[in-house]
């Protein structure tokens, strides 16, 4: 296990390199998009003069590398800069939205991950039975629908038809916990339905694959009961790919929920990122992008470490 520490350190080092590369790519990417903040803000009202004036004010007339280095310098001092569109500090705009996004993502994760693994196990246990088929087909159907459509359907049923939950999930400061939970139910349910099938089917497939291994046959011949076979012999060996899928879906939950945010009017980071790209608001895009990247890298590292830990052969390499 001792080799884990150097591995983590090495990966952290890579992480910084990755983040640095990503920040350059973001900068280059947004610059490569046609137009800039000044044009995007002024839109139809843009004239050569007022665009030039706004550019000057936003310091967009300086060359690209100057702006990047100055941003990088600020970042190293802990200064995230101000939004180009409205001058507000980036930290102010992003902080609470990131919290909201994490809240939604973790609530969806807390519900979907145990459920997915459990259902995957059950399906593998009763492979090809009616239970297996029904569960597989219904979760498959759920993910076959575009997220926004799942959201709309849930709204039609739970908001319009039965008036159980709100469809407008605007979080305000000072809301009671019960109110927050009430607001989160439908977005959380939408996300769960979307990621459930992926994790569940991967669990099922991997376990089925493992179940045909010789050592499983050995365990069976030994007379070990079926559920013990699955829990103690099959599952541990199937963990690595399952963990990978879980992590990928977790990363998606944090990073890919723009559509859900738009439909439920939930103030998270995804919508901010889309709007900022559209207005070429580089400081905001950079910071949000890097936050997402950090989250993903962290989850990635966790997945790799867990994979190694769960596989005895990788734990003790020769």
């Amino acid at each position: 296990m001792d080799f884990l520490i150097p591995l983590i350190l090495k990966r952290t080092g890579f992480a910084f390199l990755t983040l640095f590369t990503i920040s350059i790519l973001i900068f280059v990417g947004v610059e490569a998009l046609p137009g800039d903040t000044a044009e995007a803000i002024l839109g139809q009202g843009a004239t050569k003069e007022n665009v030039a004036a706004l550019r000057k004010e936003l310091k967009l007339d300086m060359p690209v590398h100057t702006r990047y280095i100055s941003w990088l310098g600020d970042l190293c001092q802990g200064e995230l800069g101000n939004s180009l569109s409205n001058g507000r500090p980036v930290s102010e705009m992003i902080g609470w939205r990131f919290k909201n996004t994490l809240l939604l993502a973790s609530s969806a994760a807390v519900v979907s991950i145990p459920l997915a693994i459990l259902l995957g196990l059950i399906c593998a246990l009763y492979q090809n039975s009616w239970l297996d088929k029904i569960l597989s087909t219904s979760t498959l159907s759920a993910i076959s629908l575009p997220e926004f459509f799942v959201a709309y359907l849930l709204i039609v049923v739970f908001v319009v038809q039965f008036e159980l939950f709100p469809s407008v999930a605007v979080l305000k400061s000072g809301m009671a916990i019960s109110e927050i939970i009430n607001i989160l139910v439908l977005p959380c349910l939408t996300l769960t339905l979307v990621v459930l099938a992926h994790m569940m089917r991967m669990t099922r497939a991997t376990i089925i694959g493992v179940l045909s291994s010789p050592y499983i046959e050995m365990a069976r011949l030994k007379g070990v009961r079926k559920h013990k076979v699955i829990f103690y012999h099959a599952l541990p060996n199937a963990l690595s790919p399952i963990i990978n899928v879980v992590v990928m879906d977790l990363a998606w939950l944090v990073v890919g929920v723009v559509v859900v945010e738009v439909v439920f009017v939930y103030p998270g980071l995804g919508q901010l990122l889309v709007d900022s790209v559209s207005k070429r608001d580089i400081p905001v895009v950079q910071t949000s992008g890097l936050i997402f990247a950090c989250t993903y890298i962290f989850l990635n590292l966790t997945a790799d470490v867990l994979s190694i830990i769960s596989n005895p052969k990788l734990r003790h390499p020769k």
């Binding site: 890579f14 629908l145 575009p146 459509f149 359907l153 089925i208 993903y296």
Partner: protein, 275 residues
């Protein structure tokens, strides 16, 4: 051919259902212009009519025949999704398996490149790239395929990592087998079940990713019929009990479920074979 028929005879009902649906869809996709009663973008009647003799599934949000749109959509959506998934899988799986087997600097390099791509929200990345390169269909296919191949890469690599350390791989290495041989003969067959499962789901996700792109104004351009965009364009009707969006949504679900039922059957068979 005889083997194929024997194969089909032993298949379970669900797999047969899946195969039938897939085959029908392919036929519809290929023969679309012959089968569709109206043109792909022909406006024939009022907006959102309910089913009638002339229009068995009613009309869409512009007054076009829903049945015709679904038929043409079959061609466009299935072809695009399939091509994209094939490319994503080809690139991702092969690179992932090689990376895990080779290890060392190649593995590191590939993993870090993939990390960089995956660390950024796919939708935004697609938005930026497509805004620069334009949204013609070939560009769309390549961009979405490459972005999605990162996920396949990670999965394939994880699977291969597990397998690569098993004894039989060591044995092969000691025998002096080349990497490519190891990948093809030792790792790939063992990784196949999970990879196949992933293929089925990837197809699904790509279908839906393209329709999410239309949320941001990218994706397949109208009036080209595409099931995903059709769901989006007709969604507004659902508030008023008009079921227009359920038709394209239903067909997406049907195809996805069918493909995965067939995938399940393969999984079953490969597990049986190995046992």
């Amino acid at each position: 051919m005889k083997n194929l028929i024997k194969l089909l005879k032993t298949s379970p009902i669900s797999a047969r259902f899946g195969l039938i649906v897939i085959t029908l869809s392919l036929i519809v996709a290929l023969l679309a212009p012959l089968l569709a009663p109206y043109g792909e973008s022909e406006i024939v009647a009022q907006v959102w009519l309910s089913s009638s003799h002339d229009h068995p599934l009613g009309t869409d949000q512009l007054g076009r025949d829903m049945v015709s749109r679904l038929i043409y959509g079959a061609r466009n959506s299935i072809a695009i999704a399939f091509l994209t998934t094939m490319i994503a899988f080809g690139v991702g799986a092969i690179l992932g398996l090689i990376a895990a087997t080779t290890g060392g600097w190649l593995d590191n390099l590939l993993s870090r490149i993939v990390d960089i791509f995956m660390a950024f929200p796919t939708l935004i990345l697609a938005l930026m790239i497509l805004s620069i390169l334009g949204t013609s269909i070939p560009v769309l296919i390549v961009v979405v395929a490459l972005l999605d191949s990162t996920r396949v890469f990670r999965l394939a690599r994880a699977l291969a990592m597990d397998i690569a350390i098993m004894e039989f791989v060591d044995a092969a290495r000691l025998r002096g087998e080349k990497t490519f041989y190891i990948v093809r003969r030792e790792i790939l067959p063992n990784a196949l079940p999970a990879l196949i499962a992933e293929f089925g789901l990837r197809f699904c996700f790509i279908f839906l990713f393209i329709s999410s792109l239309s949320f941001l104004g990218l994706g397949i351009q109208p009036p080209t019929a595409d099931w995903g965009s059709m769901v989006r364009e007709n969604s507004g009707a659902i508030n008023f009990g008009i079921i227009a969006p359920l038709y394209p949504a239903g067909t997406i679900a049907l195809i996805t479920v069918s493909i995965n039922l067939v995938v399940d059957w393969f999984l079953q068979r490969s597990a049986q074979i190995r046992a």
